[in-house]
């Protein structure tokens, strides 16, 4: 007989941590982005994706709203807006 033992890879994606946001979330302006990739690298939630200039965006299902992406962007192309803001 066996009990709980193994966990399947990547199963944490079932947990939509975007529900944690209460204060703010990032807005990707996609205007002056130079595709330096820093926002993608720094995000603790691995929820930023993008390839070419002005394509970077965030998966709000998982974003906890920490704001480090906005802090690291050298072009200030990411800003933090209120969570309740329409857009």
């Amino acid at each position: 007989m066996f009990g709980p033992l193994i966990v399947k890879p990547g199963s944490s994606r079932n947990n939509k941590t975007g529900s944690w946001r209460i204060e703010s979330r990032p807005k990707f302006l996609q205007k002056n982005c130079i595709a330096c990739n820093m926002c993608l690298l720094i995000c603790p939630e691995a929820c930023i994706d993008g390839l070419e200039k002005n394509t970077y965006h965030c998966d709000f299902d998982y974003c906890k709203g920490c704001g480090n992406c906005a802090a690291i962007c050298p072009k200030k192309d990411i800003i933090m807006i209120k969570e309740e803001a329409k857009e």
């Binding site: 966990v7 990547g10 944490s12 947990n15 993608l40 690298l41 920490c66 480090n68």
Partner: protein, 294 residues
């Protein structure tokens, strides 16, 4: 969607430095990697049954033995003739590495296993509530080195873990920071290209334990490097092969955003001792950028 090997949905605090670093490390290592992880924040927030954020084979045993478990994995892979194609990483926090894990790490380094050990240094036992560890800096306020009438915080300097690793005569020792993610990943790739035991220590701010805003993780980590408090260096075969040079900022800049250093800012004597740590690093590793253009 970029395929990350440490994915979303984990329950780390918002702005967690260790979550940033853990993902950078495993993404740089690639899918042919097996990880042995110590007990700690990373293990707890990334593998709460039945959810795991890891996309690679990953094992957690106990607090102090990830280096020993990794040694067993490496030995098994050698026996199976598979070691050449598979990276083995052992990782843990500062407490799990420099304190309770020191014996197992030392043994692993001394035996010469082909393993990369990664120490995520957030400078205290964070998962159990911010208690002081061997890597807690001098004068830091933690729950077991609290500031009070008779104490100005932790009364011992950081244990020089990278130097201890270096003293084992291993081919690669490096210090990295979450504030310099590309440098961090370069160091991981460099380490994994070398056969033998490797040690990488990564500075990872903890918003909760360091008492700073979650949005400041990147900036606080950057300030640690820019003040000279956390030198980014590489040693290859015992020789210093790289250092990130800086235009040194005064340590106050680093202390200001963090509640754990609040008591130092208004105390010139404590501040002086704190600055000394930075100054000693700058001197030792020759960190000051020459011919600074302003």
């Amino acid at each position: 969607m970029s395929k990350h090997l440490f994915t979303s949905g984990h329950t780390a605090c918002s702005g967690c430095g260790q979550a940033m670093a853990a993902r950078l490390v495993i993404d740089a290592a690639g899918p042919n990697t097996i990880v042995a992880n110590s007990t700690g924040c990373l293990e707890v927030f990334s593998t709460k049954y039945p959810e795991s954020a890891w996309e690679i084979p990953w094992v957690h045993s106990l607090f102090e033995n990830s280096a020993a478990v990794a040694s067993g994995i490496e030995a098994a892979l050698i026996y199976l003739g598979k070691k050449d194609n598979i990276n083995v990483i052992a990782q843990g926090g500062d407490g799990g590495s420099a304190d309770i894990g020191l014996q197992a790490i030392s043994g692993m380094l001394e035996r010469g296993h082909d393993i990369l050990y990664v120490c995520y240094d957030n400078e205290a036992y964070m998962n159990t509530g911010v208690q002081r560890s061997g890597l807690t800096p001098l004068e830091t306020n933690t729950t077991t080195s609290p500031v009070g009438n008779n104490s100005s915080g932790n009364w011992r300097p950081k244990k020089p873990m990278p130097e201890i690793a270096l003293a084992h005569g291993i081919p690669y020792v490096a210090i990295a920071s979450v504030a310099f993610p590309q440098d961090l990943q370069r160091k991981v790739k460099k380490a994994l290209s070398i056969k033998g035991p490797k040690y990488l220590q990564i500075h990872v701010p903890c918003p909760l334990g360091w008492r700073h805003e979650p949005s400041l993780t990147y900036q606080v980590a950057k300030l640690a490097v820019e003040t000279g408090l956390y030198p980014l260096i590489e040693y290859e075969n015992g020789v210093l092969s790289s250092r990130r040079q800086i235009k040194p900022l005064p340590v106050e800049e680093y202390l200001k955003p963090q509640g754990r250093f609040k008591h130092i800012l208004n105390n010139p004597e404590l501040l002086k001792k704190f600055q000394e740590v930075a100054d000693n690093n700058i001197k030792k590793y020759n960190l000051k950028l020459e011919n600074q253009a302003d």
